[in-house]
Symmetry: C2
């Protein structure tokens, strides 16, 4: 089985974006949108999924995708906690509906109603609601709800601990994933996303989070940003800081996805990072939606890179399925309940 | 010949740091330091160089190093333009003295007296002074003088154009290099440096700087941050933005150094980036000063990685020497004057 642990609902039906536009316009005095959220039919959802994610999953042989709201639309910098809270609820409910319509293909992961400058503990109500109502299998946590101004403390700070406690309680892994950059220095998907991944790894390296939260499982997307390419640098910095080797210091808790959009990058990831710390992902339909003219295949068709890599069958099985099930116990239980 | 295009005077004699401490303390009402700068003897310089950079260059077979002030000490966020101006002058003069003491081994590159929120055109006096007095061969430009808050416009903005005009006039390539991060989110050498490299590439990709400044040569250090590892992502993003292929859009003007501290990372760089766009560098003595226990060699002994890589003699020659001479015409003239 091929499990894609990183997909976003980038193709959500138009009423979702229209509702958000109204919500943001209301911040400037416009008429607020319906409290009940956007009106979207099941057929609209089916159309948006079947023509896009599901079609590509079928073409590429992906069985299941861990599916979360569009990352760049989380936009935790916009408005206040109430704004984020209503927005997260509607986005998460939509993800829940996708997974109910396609229970064998999509499993829900939640965005959190983070808000710049607001205590992260405020996200717990929505997190628990998503556990209860949607049986989510993971969550996305934004280390920079300011949108590129990086005003939050590092991920190792007590600031974040209430969230980690709840994640562990509910057996949820957390993907560290930023949203839109409103800082003109940072392009959202070309710089901010990758920088956030690199930054997260270095924050974890500097700190000692996993001696406090040994059960926390943290996923660094986009192949870990710059970290695997500079793994020697990170290993050397850990030595200079008198930290344990990275295998002991980080790799009992930190996992990388395979959202690296060319064979040489994937090969580096596979050469440097232990295979049990890598989970298959495509992020499709995401940042890069074009075909690579040098291969004739889509850049984000990451199945091909893993298939073409020099891997043992055991490693490939671990990357495609086994680690995802181990790190997402709620996903594993869902699949087992389906006799998979 | 092996030319290392990226070295910093991280081992400068103690009076330099003491002078800086006094200068910063004066911002809080302390006694200002001597206007003439720190008092440092030639013997102090010799000791600091011969026991460190020069010893390692000899051990590793590096003939010449392009040598600039310690990057993390530039600290353009501290004080105002006058503070940066005095500090840059003394640091650059010290680099000038190193290159006068070892004319065959070190060639000077200047830091600029940037200051957060100040028009970059104010750096031109110091830039031209360094050309006249020290015959510098390159400069370091900090894309984020705020020190991790990223308050400056992108490198493609007119904001920076007066600097680019002077660089071209004086045949100086520019290395894009940040300094200390005062943002707790970003570790200086583990996150901020790499993020800046990735950010710079993406700014250049989004813009069209080199159609305006076709003669500008820009060096992205630390192996280009995350860019080569994610080259497929960048190629795909360029297509989505209707930009030319990266070879045409960027690689007539953008160069990468080899400050990547393990063999798999170097191999990725060499596989992805055309060899004529890569210049040898170690950044020693820099961010990582320890031995890799898996190889028994220093992480920053990047000569070994290039020697071990699967390269033609022509590519190795290009990376070790030829491109550095081509991109740094003032360095080439210096070497030719030495019959090298």
């Amino acid at each position: 089985m091929i499990i894609d642990i990183h997909g976003h609902y980038t193709t959500a039906p138009e009423p979702l974006g229209a509702w958000r536009d109204e919500q943001l316009a209301a911040l400037d005095g416009g008429k607020p949108p319906a409290v009940a959220g956007p009106v979207i039919t099941d057929d609209q959802i089916r159309d948006s999924i079947e023509a896009n994610q599901l079609r590509l999953m079928d073409e590429r042989g992906i069985d299941v995708q861990v599916f979360s709201p569009r990352a760049s639309f989380m936009a935790h910098h916009a408005g206040d906690f109430e704004v984020s809270s209503a927005w997260a609820r509607h986005c998460n409910d939509l993800i829940g509906r996708v997974s109910e319509l396609y229970p064998g293909r999509f499993v829900p992961s939640a965005m959190l109603p983070q808000s710049s400058g607001v205590d992260p503990a405020t996200v717990i109500d929505e997190l628990e609601r998503c556990v209860t109502e949607h049986d989510i299998v993971a969550v996305n946590l934004n280390p920079d709800p300011s949108g590129g101004h990086w005003t939050s403390p590092p991920l190792t700070d007590e600031h974040w601990f209430p969230v980690y406690e709840k994640l562990i309680e509910h057996e949820l892994p957390v993907m560290v994933h930023v949203s839109t950059s409103v800082n003109p220095a940072f392009h959202t998907t070309g710089a901010h996303y990758l920088n956030a991944d690199t930054t997260a790894i270095m924050q974890l390296l500097e700190g000692d989070l996993f001696s406090t939260f040994s059960e926390l499982k943290m996923i660094i997307p986009h192949g870990g940003g710059a970290a695997p390419y500079h793994w020697g640098r990170f290993r050397g910095l850990a030595m200079m800081m008198d930290k344990p080797q990275l295998e002991d210091h980080l790799l009992n808790n930190v996992y990388f996805d395979t959202c690296v959009y060319h064979q040489p990058g994937i090969d580096t990831l596979l050469e440097v990072i232990p295979h049990q710390n890598i989970m298959f992902a495509s992020e499709m339909i995401g940042a890069v939606r074009t075909e690579d003219p040098t291969t004739g295949h889509f850049f984000d068709d990451t199945v091909r890179y893993i298939q073409a890599a020099d891997l043992t069958d055991a490693s490939r099985q671990s990357i495609f399925e086994d680690t995802a099930r181990k790190i997402h116990p709620r996903l594993d239980r869902r699949l087992k309940a389906q006799n998979r």
